[in-house]
């Protein structure tokens, strides 16, 4: 919003979850749901349903109508069905537009149920055709155009032919083909991302690349490590304080929200509260960490902190490293320190910015952009993962494959209706 010079008082940016929790904690009767002071995100589906109930009351509709001219929901392909119910309720009061690209939906793991474009979204939000403008590829317009062309094939589950594509296709001769390609890519200008699929193959690839590619190093590498060890071994109050201290060091605009006196109280196990509404959910999330340390609680706290008004993260690498480490600890059931160490095992600081040469995977690379991308094995990707991977590189994409034609990709999650064009692509 700042980039487009939208005045700060003209727009409110919230996550659906924190807005929903905030609404029901204010209106438990309207939501028909009582909630504790701190959210328990395991119950987020209940929160979404409660908020949807509240949003249908006259009082909340009036508030929404008087407060907002328009509601925009971004990344709608990642919206879960209960979140969608809430957005539909809000749309009764305020003109609402949702933006999303089903081809970038990567949240189909675990028990998540993202919206189905045809079943849920289009009946409520009529399709608006938007000229597809591949903005990321001014230096490689052919690539941008080709990506637009393959969207339909991916959606329809048709094979993808790389032989005529404006990409570099490398035939896999053996298991080490990628090492040669990645070393050669080291000479390229700009940022290079090597894309695997899962944590293990990324770590393994990074290992094979002898640390020339890192798995996203922090600018100050000691910070995440120290934090990870605190999380794993220290009492909860100390963890909560360390987490907040880390966040403050990695960002601007946060210290004012959580002044040092409060941080001391946090560390001492004293009451840690705020009277400011916009801060409450973040404080609650931090209190959650203090009452029971878990990767889920920490991740929620970091998410809330990052979403606070006026907070910008400038140590992005450190931030992403920690949040990803927490996420890995959550899914792989290891300590945070282990998660952090594993992703760094073979990384070395070789006199260049570590983020210029990284090994990552579509789930983590989503929303990020690189100059050059090397895809280690497209045959392992779902259609969405493949699209995200192919669309990360602004200047070049290199694909290492067994054959020039990639067999039909499966759409993860639902099966989109035929000829459903995207509402928006990024």
């Amino acid at each position: 919003m700042a980039k487009f010079e939208v005045p700060r008082d003209q727009v409110v940016v919230r996550t659906i979850d924190s807005w929903a929790f905030d609404l029901i904690s204010h209106f438990p009767l309207l939501a028909e749901l009582d909630v504790p002071p701190s959210p328990d995100w395991n119950r987020s589906a209940e929160y979404h349903r409660g908020a949807a109930t509240a949003a249908q009351s006259q009082a909340v509709r009036k508030m929404l109508r008087l407060s907002y001219d328009m509601v925009l929901v971004d990344e709608y392909q990642d919206c879960l069905i209960d979140q969608h119910g809430l957005v539909v309720a809000v749309a009764q009061a305020v003109p609402t537009t949702v933006l999303g690209d089903p081809l970038q939906s990567l949240f189909n793991f675990g028990g998540n149920q993202p919206v189905d474009w045809a079943i849920h979204v289009l009946p409520t939000f009529p399709l608006v055709e938007v000229d597809y403008r591949p903005r990321r590829w001014p230096e490689n317009e052919a690539l941008g155009t080709w990506l637009v062309e393959i969207r339909e094939n991916l959606l329809q589950g048709r094979p993808i032919d790389f032989s005529t594509a404006p990409i570099a296709l490398v035939r896999r001769d053996d298991a080490r083909t990628f090492v040669r390609i990645c070393f050669r890519a080291l000479k390229l200008d700009g940022a290079v991302a090597v894309l695997g699929q899962f944590r293990n193959d990324c770590v393994s690839a990074a290992s094979n690349l002898q640390g020339t590619y890192s798995v996203m190093e922090a600018i100050d590498e000691k910070v995440p490590a120290k934090l990870a060890s605190t999380i794993d071994t220290k009492p909860a109050a100390q963890v909560a304080k360390a987490l907040v201290d880390f966040a403050i060091n990695a960002s601007a605009g946060l210290a004012g929200h959580i002044p040092s006196a409060k941080r001391v109280r946090l560390g001492n196990g004293q009451t840690f509260t705020t009277t400011k509404d916009e801060l409450k959910s973040a404080y609650a999330a931090i209190n959650n960490v203090r009452s029971k340390v878990s990767p889920t609680a920490i991740r929620a706290a970091l998410t809330e902190i990052a979403a606070l008004p006026g907070v910008t993260i400038h140590c992005r690498e450190a931030w992403y490293e920690v949040t990803r480490s927490i996420a890995v600890a959550e899914t792989d059931d290891c300590t945070v320190a282990e998660a952090l160490l594993l992703t760094r095992n073979h990384a070395r600081v070789a006199g260049r910015r570590p983020s210029d040469r990284i090994v990552t995977r579509p789930l983590l690379a989503k929303g990020l952009e690189y100059d050059h991308v090397v895809i280690l094995d497209p045959s392992r990707y779902s259609a969405q993962e493949l699209y995200v991977a192919l669309s990360r590189g602004a200047r070049s994409v290199t694909v290492i494959a067994e054959s020039p034609v990639l067999a039909a990709r499966r759409m993860a999650g639902g099966s989109p209706e035929e000829s459903v064009p995207p509402i928006r692509a990024s």
Binding site: V12, M63, Y68
Partner: protein
């Protein structure tokens, strides 16, 4: 905006007060120290648009700061600007039609904000929005409070006639800096005028200063001269409404108050809550009645809510009973009562005795005789109390009300009683058809005093007086109605006996009756026949003179039923509430009409 509930704890003379409001025009009536103005002050403070009104220890009930001072107001019909999510939209509660507050603005409740002002012993005020059944609070800023549109007419009547910061006139001005640029231009113009002035003695003085400074080598001044100090825009306060050449500050108080009221009425587009202290202040009766009608219309149209205090019977007469709120404070507990819907003929009762609503307790006399009789008694009792340096009936606030006969006396007594005015009903006891009415009035708490069974006032007096007293009564009757008439009426009751002169003993001989027979005849004659309208004392002045007769004879009447009844009436009329705490009472008196 509409004030629907006011709850006060430990504020000045009010230890505790809970007031539910559903009227748009409320005239607070009640005795002088019943805390009416304190209630207006409380509304003004909880809705104050000021950042920090000053509090002192004296703002605490009984100067006891061990418990906080709190004022809580429930406001409905909120301005849109406050309903926004970024404002107080998520802090709204609900007010159900049965008057209960609920945490959320449910669909079947009215949305409202519960605003609480708390002052602690450090005298720091905090304003918060609170929710019923929850400890969660959220601050409400001065500018948010300003949007609630409370305006107090009474203090600083000129303020809203100026383009001052926060005045109604400023609110009425499109664009906030209009007044500032006018005043700045005027100041620049004035500066120029001073510089351009013809040479005058000021220039000579400036010249002297310059040459002296040069001799001292202070500074290379080139042209010292008189000039006006540059002004700042903050002084827009000096801009005031004028009529032609005349500033409105020169007009009478009533005009200034009314103009200020009309400006405020226009300034708040979303409607406002106006508090008016002593509406009648500075207004002639006809203007007062006109203003009341105007306010009533605006309130009926839902543009305004008006909460006013009054000591004016004209206000009580002009308004309808549903506009009245009777305020009373007893031992720090303040009650605010609307006139209940079920009261019959309340309008008539209050219009007949508007001043009683401004008092503390009512004595309802059955008719003109009783009212006059009561006045006579009180005049005498007051004289005795004055001599003994005791408070008079007017200080106690006991007001005599004419019951106008029939069933109206009991109805009126019940009306006053049900509004919290302790009421005494003084009735004859010779009409059995009103017994049931009297019994239900007693059930409502009315003190009913009736003469001995079967007797009217005249019976009781005539049968109780000494012979000398009875002669004095006869003399009074003759003075009022003439010898002929009195002799004829008594004679008629004695078998048309031919009576002469004015001496009772002589009459007894002439009519050949015993004393008891004569008393019966006098009593019967005094009561007269209703259809003929020939009763001796059926006028207030006559009743008053009758009381004087009784009082003169009273020393000889001890032990009679008459005297015990009058004793109880006296006790009621001069009742003084026990004072639980002298300091609190004093404080109530000081602040109530401040």
């Amino acid at each position: 905006m509409m004030l629907r509930r006011l709850s006060i704890r430990n504020f000045r003379g009010i230890k505790s007060c809970d007031w539910s409001i559903d009227q748009r025009l409320i005239a607070m009536v009640g005795p002088g120290d019943s805390a009416k103005s304190t209630l207006l002050d409380a509304v003004g403070l909880v809705l104050s648009p000021n950042y920090s009104p000053q509090f002192t220890d004296a703002d605490f009930f009984n100067l006891d700061m061990s418990a906080p001072l709190t004022i809580e107001a429930v406001i409905t019909e909120l301005p849109d600007s406050l309903v926004k999510e970024s404002q107080l939209g998520k802090e709204r509660s609900g007010l159900k039609s049965d008057g209960t507050l609920v945490h959320d603005p449910l669909d079947d409740a009215e949305e409202c904000l519960v605003i609480r002002l708390t002052v602690t012993r450090e005298l720091e005020p905090t304003w918060e929005v609170v929710r019923p059944g929850s400890d969660e609070t959220r601050g409400i800023t001065a500018s948010q409070r300003r949007q609630l549109g409370f305006f107090r007419l009474g203090e600083r009547p000129d303020f809203h006639l100026r383009w001052a910061r926060g005045s109604a006139l400023s609110g009425l001005t499109e664009g906030s800096d209009g007044a500032s640029s006018v005043i700045l231009d005027a100041q620049r113009e004035a500066r120029r005028a001073v510089f351009d002035a013809e040479p005058n003695p000021l220039h000579a003085a400036a010249g002297t200063a310059q040459s002296s400074a040069t001799k001292l080598g202070i500074s290379p001044f080139t042209k010292l001269r008189p000039g006006l100090e540059p002004g700042t825009a903050a002084s827009a306060h000096a801009l005031m409404l004028h009529d032609g050449e005349v500033p409105l500050s020169s007009y009478g108080l009533g005009t200034r108050r009314l103009t200020s009221l009309s400006v405020q009425d226009q300034a708040m587009a979303g409607g406002s809550i106006i508090g008016i202290d002593e509406l009648e202040h500075g207004l002639e009766p006809h203007r007062l009645a006109h203003v009341l009608r105007y306010l009533k219309r605006r309130a009926d149209d839902q543009h305004l809510q008006v909460i006013l205090t009054t000591h004016s019977p004209i206000t009580v007469e002009t308004l309808e009973v549903q506009h009245l709120a009777v305020i009373r404070t007893d031992g720090g507990t303040t009650s605010c009562r609307a006139v209940p819907d079920h009261l019959e003929n309340a309008q008539g009762a209050f219009r007949s005795a508007p001043s009683a609503l401004l008092g503390r307790r009512a004595i309802v006399g059955e008719g003109a005789t009783e009212v006059g009789f009561l006045r006579g008694l009180i005049r005498r009792w007051d004289e005795l109390r004055l001599a003994a340096e005791l408070s008079l009936v007017s200080a106690i606030g006991t007001v005599i009300v004419n019951g106008s006969g029939g069933t109206q006396p009991t109805q009126r007594a019940r009306n006053f009683q049900s509004l919290g005015y302790p009421s005494l009903l003084l009735m004859d006891n010779d009409d059995r058809t009103v017994d049931d009415e009297v019994a239900s009035a007693v059930a409502d708490g009315v003190v009913a005093e009736r003469w001995s069974y079967g007797r009217a006032l005249e019976d009781e007096v005539v049968q109780s007086l000494t012979v000398e007293g009875l002669q004095a009564l006869l003399d009074l009757a003759i003075e009022l109605r003439g010898e002929e008439s009195i002799r004829a009426s008594v004679g008629a009751k004695l078998g048309d006996a031919q009576l002469t002169g004015t001496d009772l003993a002589q009459w007894q001989t002439e009519a050949a009756v015993d004393e008891s027979g004569l008393r019966d005849a006098v009593a019967a004659a005094a009561k007269g026949t209703k259809s003929k309208g020939n009763a001796w004392f059926k006028r207030e002045d006559a009743g008053e003179s009758l009381a004087a007769v009784v009082m003169t004879d009273s020393a000889n009447l001890e032990g009679t039923a008459l005297m015990s009844i009058l004793g109880r009436v006296q006790e009621f009329a001069y009742y003084e509430a026990p004072v639980p705490d002298a300091a609190a009472e004093q404080q109530t008196a000081e602040t109530a009409d401040a």
